[in-house]
Amino acid sequence: MRPFAVGATAALLSVGLFLALWVSPPDSYQGEYVRILYVHVPAALAAYGAAAVACGASALYLWRRDLRWDFVGRAGAELAALFSGLTLLTGMLWGKPVWGVWWAWDARLVTTAVLFLLYVGCLLVRDLADDPERGRRLSAAVAVLAFLDVPVVHYSVVWFRTLHQGPSISLQGVKLAPEFLLPLAVNTLAYLALLGVLLAERARLASLEVER
């Protein structure tokens, strides 16, 4: 199962990269910079997915005190920090040429930054706690708190002010030409598969660390 999952993810990522760099045409407004979005949007989705996994697994750990949930929760928190950091970085690289600024005080940017900071805090709490058992418990509490807080942060910043374009894909329909939709869809799938593989590998590593 493991070699298959890793191989399939690598293949998906390669196809995604190929579609993003060679098949996708440049956008009429963003030009070649549209290619950054094939990393940016999937990374953002992976960050929120990782945060959701971290929250769910942490809540289960606090409830059942089964170490396996802690391994998943820890992997989720680390990947939430990693992918939200990647989202911020790619967003800034894209924002400078397209918006003309590295950073804008928009709801999604601020929410992602808050998510990043809270999960960095979550990881620090685990590492700096007096003993490992306490670290597991405390960081699980932070992971739950962070995930529940993020929607409230998001909506409060939306109402404060906003600049980010509305979602291009929603339940109302897709406002995206097919030649952009395909690379985006494949890359999203590839990043979610990558998230799954990294979650499993990181959780396995954590369990090996405990066994040792």
């Binding site: 709490v125 700096l128 405390l138 509490a141 409230v152 942060v153 909506y155 404060f160």
Partner: protein
């Protein structure tokens, strides 16, 4: 002992220690004052800069004030003794929460007064401000109480407190600023009462539940 009496006993103990030592309110208040002064200086000190300055100074002062009760128990090792008493640990949370609420309301009132003087801010809409202050204090005290307990047994806990507290309480900051502006101008408050209410509801529900897990020996 009934639950509410345990809550009042814990709050009374915290406030009595504070009254005798004044080691949260005076440092936190002075710190808030310093923040207000610095923000006024760099922003030019016009009245339109008053709401953001007030709420930022209050939030930063809250970081200092909320951590103090837990520090005290960490230093003296009294939390273990408190945990040995019979009854629910939630009562401990609510007692601590009540004491922090009182401190935050005192801090808020003081900083508001100074802000009126420093920024020549209008004093209209005090009713709105009082309600906004109360609702904010409820939520901030819940987050502060939970995080303070969480970070008691973490190295560099006082450094992690602002890292977790400030991002988590962004909604209170934004709602407070907009409600203060609305109070001053008489404009409608928009969705901000709702934001405060949802934030309070979330942390008043999640806070006690996570607190129990966090203080386990």
């Amino acid at each position: 002992m009934r639950a509410w009496r345990r809550v009042v006993a814990v709050a009374r103990k915290d406030l009595l220690l504070e009254w005798r030592g004044r080691d949260a309110l005076i440092p936190a208040g002075s710190f808030g004052l310093a923040v207000l002064l610095v923000l006024g200086l760099v922003s030019g000190g016009g009245w339109e800069a008053a709401p953001p300055a007030l709420w930022v100074s209050l939030l930063l002062a809250a970081v200092v004030a909320a951590g103090r009760g837990a520090d005290r128990e960490g230093e003296e090792g009294t939390l273990e003794a408190l945990l040995l008493y019979p009854g629910s640990r939630e009562d401990l949370f609510w007692g601590r929460w009540l004491a922090v609420c009182v401190l935050l309301l005192l801090l808020g009132a003081g900083l508001w007064g100074v802000q009126v003087l420093l920024f020549n801010a209008p004093t209209r809409g005090v009713g709105v401000l009082v309600l906004a202050g109360l609702l904010s204090a409820f939520g901030l005290a819940a987050v502060g109480t939970l995080l303070a307990a969480l970070l008691t047994h973490v190295r560099a806990g006082p450094l992690l407190m602002p890292l977790l507290f400030l991002p988590a309480t962004v909604p209170v900051l934004l709602a407070g600023v907009r409600l203060s502006e609305a109070a001053a101008s008489g404009a409608p408050a928009g969705p901000w009462w709702g934001v405060l209410a949802v934030f309070d509801l979330l942390f008043l529900l999640v806070g006690p539940a996570l607190f129990e897990v966090v203080v386990e020996a």
